[in-house]
């Protein structure tokens, strides 16, 4: 096993594709940092402005609606959202982070009320999902109590992490797929080397998945280093205890949240790797494997109504941020789609993948 592990690892780190993948993964974070700093694309100011515009338009839609007095709470809510965005803008302009934070808290409270009370404008306002709103309110309330500023844009390492968390799963998922898309196909390119080795399929498969996981971990670590080190060079590391909400209920400091998020991401990556290996026993083309794996991974986004009933499959939980924040529950409208259930399911399905993979390989050899 040791020999095979060493051989597979050497193959892994010498593969030009894998080295390019690692390089690109790190480069994405470097480029992303500068792009976000320059364009302020995900800054709170930008998103608040969009809400302000929407609030005004919706107000115009509903403020003449005299058919029901129950519209008054809606109008009051739209008013509250609009004024909150004004406070945020003011705080940013005057450079007062407390004002900005308080405005953000008011906005989130108003948005949460809109969600919970199912106001008419729920489908015509840009509202974050319910669990995210709950989590944001928790976070902002804690920050207010501790008299700390909220993350409003990309400056320090911690603010960069907090800002890009919702998008990380796209990158890590893509990295896992590209890493593993030819994991078992490789063998067919070296048939005469692979045939009749004194090695069981179990050892060969285990070695392969271990080395892939190890390299994946390496890529994640390199990415994390880039995410932390680059902003730190410019603006420092920031607050590593920044509170983030899990499932919209519990607050964890950023470093602990990252451990949870990282663990789930690793588990999701291992599932993707094992799935790709299993696919490779049927589909001997790396491109096709990539396409199938990618299509499977994004299917919960395309068909959330279907996955409401298929919550027991591992696929919805590949989006680590949605799983940890609880927005997956909102997306699928399925209360069972929680963090721990997700983690458990991913683990179970990894074992299922490996079992199927072992069966397929034994069949191949026989």
């Amino acid at each position: 096993m040791g020999t095979q592990l060493g051989f597979d690892w050497r193959q892994m780190v010498h593969s030009r594709k894998n080295l390019a993948l690692a390089g690109l993964f790190v480069a994405a974070f470097i480029i992303g940092f500068f792009a976000l700093m320059w364009t302020h694309r995900l800054d709170v100011g930008q998103t608040a402005q969009a809400t302000a515009n929407a609030a005004v338009a919706n107000y115009a839609e509903y403020n003449l609606d005299t058919l029901s007095k129950s519209q008054k709470p809606l109008l009051a809510n739209l008013d509250a959202q609009n004024s909150a965005t004004g406070v945020i803008g003011l705080g940013i302009k005057l450079g007062e982070p407390d004002t900005t934070r308080n405005g953000l808290l008011s906005l989130r409270n108003a948005q949460l009320a809109m969600r919970q009370r199912h106001f008419k404008a729920i489908n015509t306002m840009p509202l974050p999902p319910l669990h995210q709103l709950k989590g944001d309110v928790l976070t902002l309330t804690r920050l207010k109590n501790d008299d700390k500023p909220a993350v409003t844009g990309v400056t320090t390492s911690s603010s960069y992490i907090v800002t890009i968390l919702p998008y990380l799963s796209w990158l890590t998922g893509a990295a896992a797929i590209l890493l593993a898309c030819d994991s078992w196909v490789e063998r067919r390119r070296h048939q005469t080397l692979m045939t009749a080795r004194p090695l069981t399929a179990g050892v060969a498969g285990s070695s392969r998945i271990l080395t892939l996981t190890g390299f994946y971990l390496l890529i994640l670590a390199a990415g994390l280093l880039a995410i932390v080190a680059l902003p730190a060079l410019f603006n420092g590391i920031g607050d590593t205890a920044y509170p983030l909400a899990v499932m919209g209920k519990t607050l964890l400091p950023l470093w602990q949240y990252l451990l949870l998020f990282g663990g789930l991401t690793l588990l999701a990556g291992i599932w993707i790797i094992s799935f790709c290996m299993l696919l490779n026993t049927w589909v001997t083309n790396a491109y096709l494997t990539t396409f199938i794996a990618a299509a499977v991974a994004i299917s919960p986004l395309m068909l959330p109504q279907v996955f409401r009933f298929l919550w027991f499959l591992p696929i919805p939980y590949l989006d680590s941020y949605a799983t940890v924040s609880g927005t997956l529950i909102d997306r699928l409208n399925q209360p069972l789609a929680s963090t721990w259930i997700g983690a458990g399911l991913l683990l179970v399905w990894v074992i299922v993948n490996l079992g199927l993979f072992g069966y397929r390989v034994k069949k191949e050899v026989a």
Partner: protein, 397 residues
């Protein structure tokens, strides 16, 4: 010719390329089935939405008012009248009257919706612009409103304008809307995927490919034309699918139907009608030049670096890199961004002036696109020529 035919055969039997074409055609089919690209624009409300809104406005006009709301009664009455005329014209199927009423409707909204001088105005642009998390939904909606107005204006002069043309659902109009909506980006992605391994795939056949009695320049040109030939066939198939879905229901349409071309010079905005008969060939020409650019770029990257990745990354940067340096609203501070190549990746957005709108300029015209894309192509051709005419030039290592 033999080399060209052989390479074309290789291209068309490559599994990756077949998969790309297959996926693209299936995606196109699915788009027409699930998300038709030619549904009526948000600026033209449905009969139900119009009736609901009209009834609401009429109810508002008829009820008693205090000083705060009384000021909106005249405007609301006018708006309700416009909506009534639209509904009556629809009911009577009097399309010219409908167009004229719609023009009033759009002009009214253009003046009264999202008006910063009229706070608490009851009039707004289609709410879908505010739900989509756009950065400047008012501006986007105003742009769509104004361009819709300009494209409907010529139809008001016709005695019986066609309904499908009014709703921009004819075949030619669908081609334009699809082009603006992402088909061209998809075509460029397919081009990149086709061209990405044109030379590197030959590394698996080194002793054959490296010592053939043809010059690298000839090989590179032959391979470029194979991609063009293959993709022309794909385009024909795609257009056939679009025609199958659109023409039986909405007709071919007229090439004289207009879109609007937007340009902003200082404080003055120009919105000129542009016939599809001019717009579509311009879009096609620009698209072909972008395809040529990406093919040659990928070939050059493979010649220099002997792998597929560099070409893929550079192409991705060009195709999707605009958000890295541009966001609506900051272009005024860095005007030269109007000449960066990534801003010219959607020919439909150039021809309709959407890029001028986003960059707050008049510089991003089709002519500018020709100059920018053309310059890059010239540079690529020069470098390719030099690289392939070196003494020991070879298409693979």
């Amino acid at each position: 010719m033999r080399y060209f035919r052989f390479q074309l055969h290789q291209l068309l039997t490559n599994r990756k390329n077949l998969a790309v074409i297959g996926i693209a055609l299936v995606a196109l089919l699915c788009q027409f089935i699930f998300f038709p690209p030619n549904k009526a624009p948000a600026e033209l409300p449905t009969r139900n939405a119009l009736t609901r809104d009209r009834d609401k406005n009429v109810a508002f006009v008829n009820e008693p008012h205090g000083t705060l709301t009384a000021k909106w009664v005249p405007a609301t009455r006018e708006f309700a009248n416009i909506e009534t005329r639209m509904l009556n014209a629809q009911k009577q199927q009097h399309t010219q009257a409908y167009v004229k009423a719609t023009l009033h409707y759009l002009a009214f909204l253009g003046q009264n919706a999202a008006n910063p001088d009229a706070q608490s105005s009851p009039f707004h642009y289609p709410l879908s612009y505010y739900f989509e998390n756009r950065q400047y939904p008012d501006a986007d909606a105003a742009f769509a409103n104004a361009t819709m107005y300009r494209s409907l204006e010529p139809l008001a002069k016709q005695a019986h304008p066609d309904t499908a043309t009014i709703k921009q659902q004819t075949f030619w109009q669908t081609l334009f809307r699809g082009a603006a909506g992402g088909w061209l980006t998809a075509l460029l992605i397919i081009t990149i995927l086709f061209a990405n391994d044109l030379l590197t795939s030959e590394q698996r056949h080194r002793s054959i490919a490296r010592l053939l009695p043809i010059s690298p320049w000839h090989a590179v040109n032959a391979k470029t034309f194979t991609v063009f030939t293959a993709l022309s066939g794909f385009l024909v198939a795609a257009v056939a699918i679009i025609a199958t879905f659109v023409i039986p229901q909405h007709g071919l349409g007229s090439l004289s139907a207009a879109i609007a071309y937007y340009a902003k010079d200082g404080m003055s905005i120009k919105l000129d009608p542009l016939a599809l008969g001019i717009a579509l060939p311009t879009i096609l020409g620009l698209t072909f030049s972008l395809m040529w650019l990406f093919i040659r770029l990928n070939l050059l990257c493979q010649l220099l670096f002997h792998n597929e990745l560099v070409g893929l990354v550079v192409s991705a940067f060009l195709l999707f890199g605009e958000p890295l340096y541009f966001m609506h609203g900051i272009a005024f501070s860095v005007p030269q961004t109007a000449y960066y190549l990534p801003g010219y990746m959607n020919p439909a957005a150039i021809v309709s002036g959407l890029q001028n709108f986003r960059y707050d300029t008049s510089r991003m015209s089709p002519l500018a696109a020709v100059v920018v894309i053309g310059s890059v192509i010239l540079m690529l051709e020069l470098v390719l020529f030099i690289v392939t005419h070196r003494r020991r030039a070879a298409i693979i290592k």
